[in-house]
């Protein structure tokens, strides 16, 4: 896949390294000349020094055959325009904006951005979940927060240890998608026994999320 990344800082550096390691072709567009040189020396990527909202710069970056553009500048309006220019002028099918203001998360998709991510919202969600339930290892909101994927550790306190999956009274719109036991991942069936020390992947809709977590961990919010 060919990915254009617009922005700067260590975030862009590590994002690009990650993408290159997964065999994607990466082009970086960066406004700062010194930083552009720094990035070009350290990565196997084409680095273009210029304004990513400028159509001629996106053309130079090969907008015409890019599959995805990622806008990670510190400015939300710039990120919007980057995605829109890429889509309207170059037909880039997948546009991603990494945003500061969580309010823009609902707005930018209506203006044509395919995927929006708000860092403050994700981090807040992580903090709240972590302080409420110490057994939660990981929380990943998917589909713009409409689905939660949560990794939970079942402790000695868990009321469901020793029960079969089919016996657990999980609420509607929640599902145990995977059980991880001693580093082995199992897709569970109704007769799978759950034990303390297991980790489970819970897929849930926000309305049933708290109830499902309570049933699995025994914690009261």
């Amino acid at each position: 896949m060919k990915v254009i990344v617009v922005g700067g800082g260590k975030l862009v550096y590590f994002l690009c390294r990650n993408l290159i390691a997964r065999d994607h072709t990466v082009v970086v567009v960066n406004r700062n000349e010194t930083e552009s040189r720094w990035l070009a020396r350290r990565m196997k990527a084409l680095v273009i020094h210029g304004d990513g909202t400028d159509p001629s710069v996106l053309e130079e970056a090969g907008g015409h055959d890019a599959d995805t553009i990622v806008a990670v500048t510190p400015s939300d309006p710039d990120n919007l325009i980057i995605c829109q220019v890429a889509k309207l002028r170059f037909g880039v099918p997948h546009t991603v904006a990494v945003l500061a203001d969580p309010d823009n998360e609902k707005i930018f998709p209506k203006l044509g951005v395919t995927t929006v991510v708000s860092m403050p919202r994700i981090v807040s969600a992580l903090i709240e979940e972590r302080t409420a339930f110490e057994d939660i290892i990981n929380l990943l909101p998917a589909a713009e927060g409409r689905v939660n994927i949560t990794e939970l550790a079942l402790s000695e306190r868990s009321p469901i240890q020793g029960q079969r999956l089919a016996e657990i009274p999980l609420p509607r719109d929640s599902l145990i998608a995977c059980v991880i036991r001693q580093d082995e991942a199992v897709i569970p069936r109704g007769d799978t026994l759950l034990a303390a020390g297991d980790r489970v992947l819970l897929v849930s809709l926000p309305a049933s999320h708290a109830e499902a977590v309570r049933i699995l961990t025994g914690d009261v919010d």
């Binding site: 939300d76 710039d78 203006l111």
Partner: protein, 141 residues
């Protein structure tokens, strides 16, 4: 504009101030928005509209400006992308019927006109005026 309108002006630089003072003098209700309070303070003494200090690219600030009640919104900050983003949010999210954005880069202007955003490009206007002026002098000469 025959009846009294509510007009939001985003960006209170020279052009924004000129427009705000003009519409206020004409008896319209005006809301001037700028991140910099010093620029809002430069509005004419007889300007009778509202002033709002804030970044209009934040939807919360747009809400504070009562954009949902506006008849027009004019985005004239010094930044093309800010103007284009604010204009789109005003039209799509706050349902402002009449929205204009100032865009300095003619290439960017063309793209967003395709999207149905009304834009004004000072460079294009000046070029058209100069060409018209030259044509006139050739005709009369």
């Amino acid at each position: 504009m025959p009846r009294e309108q509510f007009i939001v002006i985003v960006g209170c630089g020279r052009l924004g101030r000129h427009l705000a003072n003009h519409y206020s003098r004409e008896g319209h209700s005006v809301m001037a928005v700028d991140v910099d309070p010093a620029r809002l303070a430069k509005l004419a003494p007889e300007y009778s509209g509202f002033r709002l200090e804030g970044d209009a690219t934040e939807p919360a600030v747009m809400k504070q400006s009562h954009a949902e009640d506006a008849d027009r919104l004019i985005a004239v900050t010094g930044y093309d992308n800010v103007n284009l983003a604010v204009a789109q949010v005003a039209r799509t999210i706050f349902g402002v019927p009449d929205v204009v954005a100032r865009v300095n880069d003619p290439e960017r202007e063309a793209i967003f006109q395709e999207l149905g955003i009304r834009t004004v490009c000072p460079l294009t206007l000046a070029a058209r005026e100069l060409v018209a002026w030259q044509t006139r002098s050739v005709d009369s000469g």
